[in-house]
Symmetry: C2
Subunit: 324 residues, 2 copies
Amino acid sequence: MRIVLDAMGTDAAPSPEVEGALMALRDAGEEVEIVLVGDESVIRAEMAKHADVPTRLHLRHAPDRVTAADSPATVVRRKPESSIVVGLRMQKDGEADAFVSAGSTGAVMAASLFTLRPLPGVERPPVGTLLPTARDLCLLLDAGANIDCKPQHLVQFAHLGSVYAKDTMERENPRVGLLNIGEEPGKGNDLTIETFELLSAAQGINFIGNIEGRDIVEGQCDVIVCDGFVGNVLLKFYESVAGYIVNLLRSELDGVEDGLVDLEHVFRVLDYAEYGGAPLLGLGGVSIICHGESPPKAIRNALSVAARAVRSDLVKHSAEDLQL
Amino acid sequence: MRIVLDAMGTDAAPSPEVEGALMALRDAGEEVEIVLVGDESVIRAEMAKHADVPTRLHLRHAPDRVTAADSPATVVRRKPESSIVVGLRMQKDGEADAFVSAGSTGAVMAASLFTLRPLPGVERPPVGTLLPTARDLCLLLDAGANIDCKPQHLVQFAHLGSVYAKDTMERENPRVGLLNIGEEPGKGNDLTIETFELLSAAQGINFIGNIEGRDIVEGQCDVIVCDGFVGNVLLKFYESVAGYIVNLLRSELDGVEDGLVDLEHVFRVLDYAEYGGAPLLGLGGVSIICHGESPPKAIRNALSVAARAVRSDLVKHSAEDLQL
């Protein structure tokens, strides 16, 4: 299996990418190979800082780089030799099985959509994100790829999310919830009222009903579907509020002896870097987006998620599920 | 000034109501009087537990009580002698200046709307909620009264929220943000894109632009406008996530000597009870809704917010602002 890693993605590239790739290769089985894509000389210089670079770490030169100034929609056409486009093209050409990038979210989404193409029947490929809950991680989708969704889009998200949860999150019969403003059927806005009916009738989805904002952290669901506007607001809010509350507590903890309080543990629970990146779903390939501020650990985890997706045949299962 | 307090609202009524009213009267000036509305014998029995009940605490009998089983829309017609309807009618009849209730949110909203009527020009009276941020409290509206909003509704929320922030939150020139999924103009869904244009052109609103989910806790705004679906999901999520994170930390703090960590302080910052209730805005009167689980402190604070709203002439200012 070959996973392509955009080496020019993070704000501190290529250092976190190279270190994350080395960590991932140490963890992974012998069958996993990683290809760093980007400016060859820059990557080589970074690799030279590490001893024992395994032969399973490869390099593919891509002279160009996508920046925040690039319009996502034009990247494939205007920057065909960028690390994002070259990396995704390898998967399209059968040279690789998955793509991971911490570059511009919009650019990775647009280039993935264009290069890997939606699976037959998928109208709006969603992006998923993993939220920490009191029980286990929960996949929220769509996290921002599609706004102004229609009910049938949310039903597709439910299908794609269920397959993803089975294949990469070890959930046997994933419970799917619809994010809404009341528990009873009939509650909500036009979108959620109609989606509720469609999900209740849908085959192959373990739909458990409406989920309110307050239920999310309880972890009753494996998959929560919502339109990309709500999902994006919620995701960004969660990331920031966790930091806010931990900071509040940190100021209270001044003076407490080190070691008595394992703040590290709390941070880990709240740390998005732990969970790897955000998967793009419903495409004819695997593409995972990481934060621009990803540390090596986050890159390693995203690579590990990508490997799980390839190993479990996520794309094939998604396509099969959509044909049912 | 007379504030009517529904004595039958909380889950533990009338105990938190009576205690909260007594606390409020101790804090407030001599001009503030409170009228407890509900079952006279039950309230009298509760009052008998307290010494020194001031003469500024009155009682108005209302034999009936709204329960969770009542459909909010039918309460005014079917339960005209309930504490909610009797209490609101007193304001309509000029016997009182404000109404506070911890009863069924839907019933209080519907009965307030019917009894106090929307101000001229107000199409969708919103409900506001106060969110704690790193700087100061921020008013989010609509928090759930109106879903599937139109752009002009959000502009009205901005007007009503600005007046409320000036009159009751001591903000001189309230900064208004539009909750959205990107900072730049042109980002968002159909609703927010159009609302952005209207707010940019609106007179008398200090519109500072789009606010993302991650900006909320930073406290850049005094007022955040959004449709009631998003607002409700966010509000309920915030309430629950604060509890979740504090619990995470609490389990880490086992074994830390008491007194070293002022968890109480952190809880206070995150405690909705501190901020009183959720105001219904855009009506021809003052109506404030509290949680059903409100402790006496929350009731006291809601009464104090109600007193501020009356003292500052909130309703008159709102009506004037809408006529500009």
